[in-house]
């Protein structure tokens, strides 16, 4: 072989090796993926900002007319609104914020323990055959339309709550300090009824995510607890629950996110009382979402629609804040337990 040719071959070989190892090979694929990722991320954020912007701009005339801080009281009386006067502001929204918060909190107090319990039963205790049936059933629960829960609330739950309400009036209401939360009279449609309906509606979310979380507990941890002589419950307590803590908190907050915005079923059973705060859970109330659903189609008073948008804006902010808090808590717990989730 002539000398020149050998050199050429050698160079060709090195250059093809260089090609194989070249950054570009990997980068093209990675770059497409990274850009796609970035683009969809930006799109989501843009959409969110656009929504907030839209709601805020619809609310602006009312905010301008009355001033932001004048909305922080507890009386909502559209019929008293007039174009001419801006004081007093008839559109107070604090009772709706309170209603949203209390209904969601009670719903979570009921559904988190029940949901985690059901998820534990399905994933840790029940026989294999029953497992599938139960899982499907809980999933079906999620597929029931909101309005059907509302009907169920009216037809079944409200009458069924009567004895419970009677019990609260007669006993819990007498406890000094917290008694006010359980005072009568009870007319059926109530904060309590809305909370119970809501708790059932968020149950599938809590169950599904908790189950998912429990199934990620490594076999090693379970067997460590079993080998130490743990009973079924002790295995759950020492190996399953600690490992799942951050996931279960995440599940709860996702449920809460759903509860905050849930509209139709709540509107149907909460009583839609807009003139003040009922501290008693047996009383009637309204949430930010329910007042919007209830009044939007017939909002004909001055600044009525615009003020409903103010309520909508408050709901968005509340939901955002809860989601951010949830993320922070989950991230903290994940860091503390040494695993991301």
């Amino acid at each position: 072989m002539p000398k020149g040719k050998a050199k050429e071959v050698a160079r060709a070989e090195t250059s093809s090796l260089a090609l194989q190892l070249s950054k570009k090979r990997r980068i093209t694929g990675d770059a497409i993926f990274a850009n796609l990722n970035r683009a969809s991320g930006i799109a989501v954020i843009a959409l969110l900002i656009a929504m907030i912007w839209f709601v805020l701009s619809e609310a602006t005339p009312s905010l301008r007319h009355y001033g932001i801080f004048s909305f922080f009281h507890t009386r909502w009386a559209p019929s008293e609104a007039s174009l001419a006067s801006s004081s007093p502001n008839p559109y107070g929204i604090v009772q709706f914020i309170y209603g949203t918060a209390i209904v969601s909190i009670i719903a979570m107090v009921i559904s988190v323990p029940v949901g985690v319990g059901v998820a534990l039963f399905i994933s840790e205790v029940c026989p294999k055959k029953l497992k599938k049936t139960l899982t499907t059933l809980t999933e079906l629960l999620a597929a029931v339309p909101s309005v059907v829960y509302g009907f169920w609330g009216i037809a079944v739950l409200v009458p069924a709550l009567r004895p419970a309400a009677g019990f609260m009036e007669n006993t819990l209401a007498k406890i000094p300090g917290v008694g006010g939360f359980f005072e009568g009279p009870f007319f059926g449609f109530s904060i309590l009824a809305a909370s119970v309906v809501l708790s059932i509606m968020v149950l599938p979310t809590v169950i599904a995510i908790s189950r998912e979380v429990f199934s990620t507990v490594p076999r090693d941890h379970r067997e460590a607890a079993i080998a130490l002589g743990g009973t079924r419950w002790e295995v759950i307590r020492t190996a399953v629950l600690p490992y799942s803590r951050s996931g279960v908190v995440g599940a709860s907050f996702l449920g809460l996110g759903r509860a905050l915005g849930e509209t139709i079923a709540v509107t149907m059973v909460i009583g839609n009382s807009v003139l003040g705060i009922s501290w008693s859970i047996l009383g009637q109330g309204a949430t930010l979402a329910s007042v919007i659903a209830n009044e939007f189609t017939e909002a004909n008073q001055p600044f009525h629609i615009e003020s409903l948008f103010v309520a909508g804006f408050a709901l968005m902010i509340l939901t955002l804040v809860v989601n951010v808090i949830a993320r922070v808590i989950v991230a903290r717990m994940g860091a503390a337990t040494g695993r991301a989730s």
Partner: protein, 257 residues
Amino acid sequence: MKRVSVDAVSAYFGAHKAVEDVSMVIEPARVTALIGPSGCGKSTLIRTINRLHEVVPGARIEGTVHLDEIDIYGESIDPVLVRRQIGMVFQRPNPFPTMSIYDNVASGLRLNRVKNKDTLDSAVERSLKLAGLWDEVSSRLNNPGGGLSGGQQQRLCIARAIAVEPAVLLMDEPCSALDPISTLKIEDLIHELKERYTIVIVTHNMQQAARVSDVTAFFTIAGAGEPGRLIEMDETSKIFTNPGDERTEAYVTGRFG
């Protein structure tokens, strides 16, 4: 310290027979090593001794296992209480990751309803010292167990297992995920523990078996899908220098497996 008698044990995973007809007597105050090629059923057999085999769905055994004169598979026996008598250390370190170092070691005692703080404190200190971990962790007992190195985690698991003073200690390849120094520490520990416990150790490391054990049992499988069988069991020195079966000789001299 108790004697473990395995009698005609066969272990199944569903229809698959993983171990066939194993009989052996494991003497107290001695270290018994189980050796053999991968898949020959060493882990499966060791897990029949603390009734951990049966927690795998579909798994079951035939035959009996006695702890001294008690049949641990007897009608009236609670497997949970059997496991409290028999400690186990797994191949992969598995401390409870969110629990503190202290709570990890105390977890077995707490399962046994020990609540007294002084008792727990002294048991934790004694176990960690025995496991050779005390000096490294005594200043941070409240840190999570998941934050230790692999070797430290394994010694933490040993401390957890011995904290309840079990009659028998089962170790399934306790050093396979560890560096040579951690391995030596654990081997030293086994020597110390031998006086108080009946120890069974599974190992793939021939030198380790030779170093730590008094008695060695050799298992093998005839082929894929076949069950594992006990070929022979004898004094370790005999197994490594003058085994009775040529399959054993082939394995310990490295010509097989």
